[in-house]
C-alpha cells in the first residue's frame, strides 16, 4: 500500500514535470507589472527559452538592427483565439496575447555553436486598454529576468563575423524608450508583426494552422530579406530596411511625425521619402548637407551622414544604436547612388 502510494507520488512528480504550468494569460491581461519574467511561464526552462505551449518562435524577413545583437522572437495568443490578419499594418492581437523578444550576443559570431549570453527579454502585453511594453534584464546567473523599468547599461563583448573583438555598453531601454519606438498616435503599437515582414511564403499559413492567425490570403504582401540580393530589387530591399529601422518613428503618426520624413515601405511621396528634402530640426545632424537624400550622391546625403555617426546628437536611429551597421549603410549608399541625379 505504501509502495503503491510512493509510486503514485512519483508518477505525479513525473507528470507535473512534463506538463509545466501554462502561460499565465491572466497576468498578461491583468493590470500588474510582474517583477520577474518567470511569472509569465513563457518558457519552460527560463533562459534556455524553450517555448511553452502556444508560445511560437518566429523571425522577420528584414529585422531592426540592434547593435548586432541576435534576437529570439516569440508570439503567444491565448487558446481559442487568433490574431486578425491585416494586409497593410500590424496584426490585431486579442487581449491576453504577448510578444516576447530576447536580445543576446554569441561569444563568437563565426561559430554557430558559440554560447549566447542573453542580456534582456522585452515583452509586449496586450491588455484591454492597449499594449504595455516592459523590459526584463537577466540575472548574472541566468536564473530569472527582473523588470527594469528605468533601463540599464550592460557591458558586453564578442568576436564579430570578421573575427574582430567588439565591446559596447549595451543599452536596455527604459519603459518610456520602449514607447518612443512603439508609438502610434500616442498609443503603444507593434512594429514587426505585419503581413509583409512575417510572410516568408509559409509562415502565415502555419500560423493559421496553429490557430495564431485567423486567415492567410494567398496574395499577402511581402518585403524582401534586406541582405539577400536574390530576394528583391535594390530599391525594394532598401525600402524594407528603412521601413523596419526608421518608419516606427518616421511615420505620420510616429514619434518623428514633426520631421515630415516618412519611410514606410509603401510611402509614395518622394519628398516625404527624403528625396531632395531639406532638414527641419536636424541641427548638426545635417552634417552640412542640404538634403536627406541627394539622388546619385550618398556622400552628400544626410541619411548616410547620420547612419555613419555614433554621436547621440547626430546618430539615427536615436535609440538602440551605439554601433555602425556597416552592411546597412552600404545598402543605403548603393540605393542612393543608383538614383538618377536631378535635372
Amino acid at each position: 500500500m505504501i509502495r503503491a502510494f510512493a509510486a503514485l507520488a512519483g508518477w505525479l512528480t513525473l507528470v507535473s514535470a512534463s506538463a509545466p504550468a501554462p502561460v499565465a494569460t491572466e497576468l498578461i491581461a491583468g493590470d500588474t507589472l510582474p517583477r520577474t519574467l518567470s511569472e509569465f511561464h513563457f518558457f519552460t526552462d527560463g533562459i534556455g527559452q524553450t517555448p511553452n505551449e502556444r508560445v511560437t518562435h518566429y523571425t522577420l524577413n528584414t529585422p531592426l538592427f540592434s547593435d548586432y545583437a541576435i534576437k529570439n522572437r516569440f508570439v503567444y495568443v491565448p487558446e481559442g483565439q487568433t490574431a486578425t490578419y491585416n494586409a497593410d499594418g500590424v496584426f490585431e492581437f486579442p487581449v491576453g496575447s504577448a510578444l516576447i523578444k530576447s536580445f543576446g550576443y554569441p561569444a563568437d559570431f563565426r561559430d554557430a555553436d558559440s554560447p549566447v549570453r542573453w542580456l534582456e527579454t522585452r515583452v509586449l502585453l496586450r491588455r484591454a486598454d492597449g499594449w504595455v511594453a516592459l523590459p526584463y534584464v537577466w540575472n548574472e546567473d541566468g536564473s530569472d529576468a527582473v523588470l527594469r523599468r528605468a533601463g540599464r547599461r550592460i557591458p558586453v563583448s564578442w568576436i564579430d563575423a570578421q573575427g574582430a573583438q567588439q565591446a559596447i555598453d549595451y543599452r536596455v531601454p527604459n519603459q518610456n524608450q520602449c514607447k518612443t519606438c512603439h508609438s502610434n498616435n500616442d498609443e503603444i503599437a507593434l512594429i514587426g508583426p505585419n503581413a509583409r515582414n512575417l510572410n516568408d511564403g509559409q509562415r502565415l499559413a502555419q500560423w493559421v494552422d496553429w490557430s495564431i492567425l485567423d486567415r492567410a490570403p494567398a496574395g499577402a504582401p511581402r518585403v524582401p530579406v534586406w541582405n539577400d540580393e536574390s530576394d528583391g530589387t535594390l530599391d525594394q530591399r532598401a525600402r524594407a530596411y528603412l521601413d523596419i529601422n526608421c518608419a516606427h518613428c518616421h511615420s505620420r503618426s510616429g514619434s518623428a511625425s514633426n520631421s515630415g520624413l516618412f519611410l514606410g515601405y509603401n510611402e509614395v511621396d518622394q519628398v516625404a521619402r527624403g528625396i531632395l528634402k531639406r532638414p527641419v530640426a536636424a541641427g548638426r545632424g545635417s552634417g552640412g548637407r542640404d538634403y536627406d537624400i541627394e539622388p546619385g550622391h550618398p556622400e552628400r546625403s544626410i541619411f548616410v551622414f547620420r547612419m555613419r555617426s555614433q554621436d547621440p546628437g547626430i546618430a539615427m536611429p536615436e535609440l538602440g544604436r551605439g554601433m555602425l551597421h556597416e552592411e546597412g549603410i552600404a545598402l543605403i549608399e548603393r540605393y542612393i547612388a543608383a538614383m538618377d541625379e536631378p535635372g
Binding site: 533601463g151 518610456n176 519628398v271 527641419v280 541641427g283 548638426r284 545635417s286 542640404d290 547621440p312
Partner: protein
Amino acid sequence: MKYIAAAAMLLASTSAFAAVHTVETGPDAQERLQEALIIAEPGDTVEIGAGRFELTDGLSLDVANVTVRGAGPDSSILDFSNQVGSGEGLLVTSDDVVLRDFAVENTRGDGIKSKEADRIVYHNIRVEWTRGPHPDNGAYGIYPVESTHVLVDGTTVTGSSDAGIYVGQSDQIVVRNNIVSYNVAGIEIENSMHADVYNNIATNNTGGVLVFDLPNLPQVGGHSTRIFHNLITDNNTANFAHEGNIVASVPAGMGIMVMANRNVHVFENVIGDHGTGNVLIVSYTETFDDENYNPYPREVLLERNAHGRAGYAPDIPGGEALAAALGGSLPPILWDGTGEIVLSNDEASVVSLGLTQAGQPLTDAQPRPVSLATDDVPETPAAVVLPETMEAALR
C-alpha cells in the same frame, strides 16, 4: 522642512494621493531619476535635489500632469557632458507637465524636447552649452513641438547651434521673460499659429527672434504672431549652425527675421546694434514641392519700435556694395520686396530689394528706399490666453 514642503504640496494638489518623489545626487542617479519619472502618477511631483547629476542617457517623462521641480537653475543641474545615448536631455511626451527650477547642461542633441505635450510649462529653467557658441553644440535648447498651449517663461538659454527657444508646429504659444544669448537663433517660432513673444531679452545671438514657415511639414501655414516689448540688441555672433539647416542662412547681425508667414505684428520693441539689420522681412528662397505652402510674407506690421544703430556690417551677398550705394550703411528695416501687405509705421527707414517672386536670384534685385507707412493699420492678432492652470503653475 522637506517634510513640511511635501505636505504643503500634497494639500495644494488636486489629487488626494499626490506624492513627491525626491531624487538626490549620488550613485545610480540616472536610474533613480528615470525610475521616478516612470513611477510618478498624475498629480505627483518629481523633485530634483540640489547638486550636479552626471547623466549618460536621455531622460523621459510620459505621465500626464506631473511637475518636475528642482532647487533652482543654478542648484539642480542635469549634466549631460558624458551623454552616450538619446537625441535630447529630457523628453516629455505627456500633457499638463510643468518643468521648473533646474538646469540642463551640455546635451549632445537638443536640451529639453516636448512633443505632443499639450499645456506644457517651462519655467525658471536654464539650458546651456557651457563652452559658448560651437557648431557641435546641440540644436535646440527648449524645443516644444506639435503641441497646443505652450508656455516658456523665465528661462535662460545659451549656446544652441540652432535655436535657443524653438517652438514648432504648435498652436497657442507664449514665450516671455526669457534671456537668450549666444545661440544661432535666440527665439524661433516655426510653422506655428497664435504666438505671443514678449518681455524677452535676445542678445549676442546670430539672429534675435525668427518667425518662419517651412514647406513639407505636417503643419504648414504659420500665422498670427505678436512680437512686443522685447529687448533685441547686438545679435552679431557669427553664424555657427551647420549648413543645410534653415538657420544656417540667417545673416549675422539680425534682430528680427520674418519669413513666409502671415499676420505678424512687431511692436514696441527696442531693437538695435545689428550689423545687417534690425528687421528683415523675406520670402522662402529655396525650391519646394508642397501645394499647401505659401512662401511669401503677408500682413506684416511694424509699429512703435525703437530702432538703434543697424546695417553697418551687412552679412548678405552684395551687402557692402549696397551699403555703399545707400550712403555707407543699410537702413534698419530690410524687405526683399515680395509678399503682400508689408507695412511699417516705425520711425526708421526701409530698403526694398525690389524682388517680386520667391526664389528670385539676388542678381535681379533693384534696391531702393521705400516707405511702408500706412494709415490703414490692420487689426492686431488677439492676445494668446492660456488655461489658468498653466499660469497657476508659476506661483
